[in-house]
Symmetry: C2
Subunit: 226 residues, 2 copies
């Protein structure tokens, strides 16, 4: 993968980086959300120690993570918040807001819709789909229904194109998950976050992340026992 | 870590296994939930191909994963569902039902309470705590409030001991997460799943998993771009 961005020193650099581990990507994501908050609060500079604290790692690791992508920091001064934030956003491809659709009215979808860090961040929820929109609309607060339409699932393909949906969050009953994903694929939505316990498959060129709550819980128990 | 269990052939084996990667633990968890369903449905035997399909891996990997823990399968026959299920439960320390408390009324908690695979499985929700139980009770369905008390957060320490709570699921507003975790620790609850976007710390002997939804979403975007 090729990433283009401008470093603090105004030098255009081109970095080739592939196979970043999921652990590093997760840390970069946490750094990004922290920097975003600092930026909103008007903070200009942060130290690697400040960043390290928000995700429970050592400052040296933060320095190492960020050094992979160019010279973001100035020794003895720290990192410029805005520049570092823009740099990390570039790494993720979040230079523009991505369009998200929530499919299904089950509780995790409500969580997303009510999670302000999600709505106000790099993503915008542009539609909610359900097999029974009239029931879904009653589950949502008026704050949400004012800003997002609840549409019938049969409109998915058309709406996906018109509203340029990048990501679908699957939140149906488990037995419907694969069917819905097939419709999502037909609609050309390339990214899928599946929050149902059913494993879903996608063809080449599409990416589905199957989020397994039960596995998180079980692995906690495993660690407790060890 | 030492795991004792009886293999298919009735031989008591002692395995020393430490540092199992999270990826393997997650797969074992998925195998376990699949086997549990098959067992409920009365199925006696499964093949590695059956198991492989539920989590999108190859049968060879399933065989390899299971071979780490003893001889569960019989060549040309497959795996005996009940034995394999019990074996994996032993690995996780799920020989008994674990007691779970949900703290905070935000939506992810409702998701857990409504997720049948969660309630009927290896875990039992024995209490819900909130700073405003009278509001929390209104957010929950009658099916849940019939079976679980909603208690004030100040009762946490006492109730944790009486009901032998193993795991706390943190589901408060982000700014309250660390305070609540400190109370959980005082109550002697060793395992914590933190679903708020705030990173929480615990002292030695306790384990907190910080589940970062935003990171899942961001890493999907990173993969889409790559």
């Amino acid at each position: 993968m090729r990433v283009h961005f401008v470093t603090l020193f105004g030098l255009k650099e081109e970095l080739v980086h592939s196979n970043l581990s999921e652990t590093i990507i997760n840390r970069l994501s946490i750094y990004m959300h922290y920097l975003s908050k600092q930026d909103e609060g008007g903070k200009k500079l942060v130290s690697p120690y400040d960043i390290a604290q928000v995700c429970g790692v050592k400052a040296g690791l933060v320095r190492k993570d960020l050094a992979r992508f160019g010279r973001f920091g100035i020794k003895g001064v720290g990192y410029y918040v805005t520049d570092l934030l823009q740099g990390i956003k570039s790494i993720f491809g979040l230079d523009r807001k991505l369009h998200v659709a929530i499919i299904g009215r089950h509780n995790i979808g409500l969580y997303f819709l009510s999670f302000k860090g999600f709505l106000n961040g790099n993503y915008e929820i542009v539609a909610v789909f359900d097999t029974k929109p009239e029931i879904a609309v009653r589950s949502l607060t008026s704050e949400i229904t004012r800003s997002v339409d609840i549409l019938h699932i049969t409109c998915l393909k058309e709406v996906a194109k018109i509203r340029k949906i990048d990501i679908a969050i699957i939140n149906t009953i488990p037995s419907e998950a694969q069917d819905v994903v097939s419709q999502v694929v037909k609609g050309g939505i390339r990214g899928i976050l599946n929050f149902t316990p059913s494993y879903v498959k996608v063809p080449r060129g599409f990416i589905a992340k199957n989020i397994q709550f039960a596995a998180e819980q079980d692995s906690l128990v495993y660690l407790l026992k060890s």
